[in-house]
C-alpha cells in the first residue's frame, strides 16, 4: 500500500523554565529524531510509558505541534511548512481523537452542534444539509436514536456515548487519517470493547488509517497491524503485530511485555523486571537511553545511539544485541 503519512528525522524540544539565575536553558527532548511511515489503510500502534513522547509524535504528524526540526509528508506532499490557509484544508483530512471525551466536548454545545461544528468551519453553510450529515454520522457511530440525542448536552450522556460523539465529530469531515490518543483509557471495561469494535468497523467502512497511541499492549495487539515502541523520545522497535508479540527483540519491549498483567490466574508467574523508572527527558542517559536499566547492557551501549536496524521480516530494532 502507498504511504499516507511520513515523518523524517522528527525532533521536538520543549523549553523548560530553569531555576533562578540558571545560565543554561534546558529542554525536554520529547521527540528525538523519529522516522515513521504509515501506510494507507493500516493501524499503526504507538506504545510506550508516560513521558515516552508518543502523544507528541502523534500531534506533530498532524501539525498540532510545530516540530523543532524534521519533515512531514502527507500523500507525498511536504506539509511541514504549510501556511495557515492550506493547513486549514488539511485539518478536514487529518483528525484527532483525544483521551478524555468529557474535557474534549464543550458543555455548552449540544451533540448536534458539536458534531456539526467542523462542517461549519469547513464551509458547509446550509443548516439543513449540515444536520443531515450529522445525523448520518451519528447513526454510523451508533448514537441512536440520533434525532433524540441530537439535542442532548454532554452532561446528559454516558461515558460511552460521549466517546462516540468525539469520534463522530472527528469523522464528520470525512478525513482519511486519524490520530487516536488513548481513546479508551478513560472508559470502563465493558465500554472499551465497544469503542474498539466501532473503531475497527469505521476503519473498514470509511477507508481510514489510524495512528493508535496507547500504553496498553494488550489493546494494541487486538487492534493494530504494526506496532512501534517508544522510549524517552525514540522509537526502539517497530514491527508487524505478529513479529512484535511473538519475537520481541529490544530488551525494553521484552520488559514491557513481561509486565502486562494477564487476566488469567493460571498464567501467574514471577516477572523479570528492569530496575528503576523511566529517567528524565531533560537529561537522558547517553547512548542507548535504556542502558542504565537494561539487564544486557554492555560498555558499547552507553557510547553511541544504536540505529534502528533490520532484525527480521518488516522488523526493526534499535539494539546492538543479536
Amino acid at each position: 500500500m502507498p504511504i499516507l503519512i511520513k515523518a523524517e528525522r522528527l525532533v521536538k524540544d520543549f523549553p523548560v523554565r530553569g531555576a533562578f539565575l540558571e545560565k543554561k536553558r534546558k529542554f525536554v527532548h520529547a521527540v528525538d529524531d523519529v522516522d515513521i511511515a504509515i501506510e494507507e489503510g493500516e493501524v499503526l500502534g504507538l506504545a510506550g510509558e508516560s513521558g515516552s513522547g508518543k502523544s507528541t509524535t502523534g500531534r506533530l504528524l498532524i501539525r498540532l505541534v510545530e516540530p523543532s526540526s524534521g519533515r512531514i509528508e502527507y500523500r507525498g506532499r511536504d506539509i511541514t511548512e504549510y501556511p495557515k490557509r492550506e493547513l486549514e484544508d488539511l485539518r478536514a483530512k487529518v483528525q484527532m481523537i483525544f483521551q478524555d471525551p468529557v474535557s474534549s466536548l464543550s458543555p455548552r454545545m449540544s451533540v448536534g452542534e458539536a458534531i456539526g461544528h467542523p462542517l461549519a468551519i469547513h464551509g458547509m453553510r446550509d443548516k439543513a444539509q449540515r444536520k443531515g450529515a450529522v445525523i448520518e454520522m451519528m447513526e454510523k457511530v451508533g448514537l441512536s436514536p440520533a434525532e433524540y440525542l441530537y439535542r442532548k448536552y454532554p452532561h446528559q450522556l454516558s461515558g460511552g456515548q460521549s466517546q462516540r460523539v468525539v469520534i463522530a465529530r472527528a469523522l464528520v469531515t470525512r478525513p482519511d487519517f486519524i490520530v487516536a490518543d488513548e481513546p479508551i483509557a478513560m472508559a470502563d471495561v465493558s465500554v472499551r470493547a465497544l469503542i474498539l469494535q466501532l473503531m475497527r468497523q469505521l476503519k473498514d467502512e470509511m477507508g481510514l488509517t489510524y495512528l493508535f497511541i496507547t500504553h496498553d499492549l494488550a489493546t494494541a495487539k487486538y487492534l493494530c497491524d504494526r506496532v512501534a515502541i517508544m522510549y524517552l523520545g525514540r522509537i526502539v522497535e517497530l514491527a508487524t503485530r505478529d513479529e512484535l508479540f511473538s519475537r520481541p527483540h529490544h530488551p525494553y519491549t521484552k520488559a514491557l511485555l513481561a509486565a502486562v498483567p494477564i487476566p488469567d490466574p493460571r498464567a501467574r508467574k514471577p516477572k523479570d523486571l528492569p530496575t528503576g523508572e523511566i529517567p528524565s527527558a531533560i537529561d537522558p542517559p547517553s547512548g542507548c537511553h535504556f542502558h542504565p536499566r537494561c539487564p544486557y547492557a554492555m560498555p558499547a551501549c552507553s557510547l553511541s545511539r544504536p540505529p534502528l536496524r533490520d532484525v527480521g521480516a518488516r522488523h526493526l530494532s534499535a539494539c546492538i544485541l543479536d
Binding site: S50, D188, H215, A218, L256, I262, P263, P265, R266, L273
Partner: protein, 327 residues
C-alpha cells in the same frame, strides 16, 4: 479478644446499605452487601466506575464522604461493630488495625512535608510519646523493606518518582503494623513496569507483615495476579463471589461472563472481543429487579420484577435467577 488464625472471618459485613441523598433523589451506592473477609487472604473487589466498590471500601473505615450515610447493616472487625464506635475509638482503629492506600500518591502526600515527617506524624497520632529519633529508626527499617534508600527520608514528595511515592504510601500504611490493608486502585496511576514491580512488592509485604488485603480495582489483570477470592460488584450489589480460579474459568453471573469476554489478553490471539451492549445502571432511585437485567442477554420476567440475592451455587455464590431456578 480471641486470636484470629488464618482463614477466620476477621472483617464481617452484614446487609450493608449506603445511600447518598442528592437533589433529584437518593443514590443507592451500596445495597444489601454481605461479605466475610478471611484473615490472610487477598480479596479482590472488582467492578466498573459507579458500581459502589470504593464506597464499600471507605465504609470499612467509616470514611464515606458526606452526604453519604449508612442506612442499614453492620461491619464487624474481630467482632467489634465499627459503625457504632466512638470517633476516638475509630481514630485508633484506623492505621493501627485497618490501613488504606489510595490511587493517587501525589494527592495523598503533603507537598510541604518531608517523607520523614510523614512517618513521624503517622506514628505519633497513635503513639504520641514516641521520640522523634525512634520514629525515624522505625521509618528507616520500613524503607529498607520497601527497597528505598534511607537518604530519601529528608526529601519532599516532588523529589520522588511516581513509583517511589506509591511505595512511601504503603510504608506509611504499614508503619503501625495493621492487620488489614485496603488498597483502592493502588496501581492505576502507575506505568506498566512500575505497576508490576509494585504488585510484587505488595505481595512480599503481605507475607512479611501477615496482612489481609482488600484490593479494589477495575483491572481484571491485576486481580487475576493477586487475589485469592473475588467479589464482582454491579449496581451497588455483589453479583458474584468466588475463588479467583472459579471467577476466571467458571464465571456464573452473565455480567461476570460478559466482563471476561471483553477484556483483551495479550497471551491470546483474539480476533473479536465480545462487547457488552448498554451502559451501567443509574443508581438514583433504581427500580426493583436485578440491576443487570436491562443489559443481560438471558434476562427473564422475574429478573425485572424481583432482585435476586447472593446465594451459593457449587463452590461459588451468585445473585442471579438463572441459578436460583436450577438450584
Amino acid at each position: 479478644m480471641m486470636a484470629y488464625g488464618s482463614g477466620d472471618p476477621i472483617l464481617v459485613i452484614q446487609k450493608l446499605s449506603i445511600a447518598y441523598p442528592i437533589s433529584i433523589g437518593t443514590v443507592r451506592a451500596v445495597e444489601n452487601v454481605s461479605l466475610s473477609v478471611r484473615k490472610g487472604e487477598v480479596l479482590g473487589i472488582v467492578g466498573e466506575s459507579g458500581c459502589g466498590k470504593s464506597t464499600l471500601g471507605l465504609s470499612m473505615l467509616k470514611l464515606m464522604k458526606p452526604p453519604g450515610r449508612i442506612t442499614s447493616g453492620s461491619i464487624l472487625y474481630k467482632g467489634l461493630d465499627i459503625l457504632s464506635m466512638s470517633d476516638r475509638a475509630l481514630l485508633d482503629l484506623r492505621g493501627r488495625n485497618l490501613a488504606m492506600i489510595f490511587q493517587n500518591p501525589l494527592t495523598s502526600l503533603d507537598p510541604l512535608v518531608t517523607v520523614q515527617d510523614h512517618f513521624i506524624e503517622a506514628i505519633r497520632v497513635h503513639e504520641p510519646e514516641v521520640r522523634r529519633k525512634d520514629c525515624v529508626a522505625r521509618a528507616e527499617a520500613i524503607l529498607a523493606d520497601l527497597g528505598i534508600e534511607a537518604r530519601r527520608l529528608s526529601e519532599y514528595p516532588y523529589q520522588l518518582s511516581g513509583g517511589m511515592r506509591q511505595r512511601i504510601m504503603i510504608g506509611l500504611a504499614l508503619i503501625l503494623h495493621p492487620d488489614i490493608l485496603l488498597a483502592d486502585e493502588p496501581t492505576t496511576a502507575l506505568d506498566v513496569i512500575v505497576e508490576a514491580g509494585f504488585t510484587e512488592l505488595l505481595m512480599k509485604l503481605k507475607r512479611q507483615y501477615d496482612l489481609t488485603v482488600l484490593l479494589i480495582s477495575h483491572n481484571l489483570g491485576l486481580v487475576a495476579e493477586m487475589a485469592d477470592r473475588i467479589a464482582v460488584m454491579y449496581g451497588g450489589r455483589i453479583v458474584e463471589l468466588a475463588s479467583v480460579e472459579d471467577i476466571f474459568s467458571r464465571p456464573l453471573h452473565p455480567y461476570t461472563r460478559g466482563l471476561m469476554a471483553c477484556v483483551p489478553n495479550i497471551l491470546l490471539d483474539q480476533k473479536e472481543l465480545l462487547a457488552m451492549p448498554g451502559s451501567p445502571p443509574d443508581l438514583v432511585d433504581a427500580p426493583e429487579g436485578c440491576p443487570f437485567a436491562p443489559r443481560c442477554p438471558e434476562a427473564m420476567d422475574i429478573c425485572r420484577a424481583k432482585t435476586p440475592t447472593l446465594a451459593a451455587y457449587g463452590a461459588s455464590s451468585t445473585a442471579c435467577w438463572l441459578y436460583e431456578r436450577n438450584a
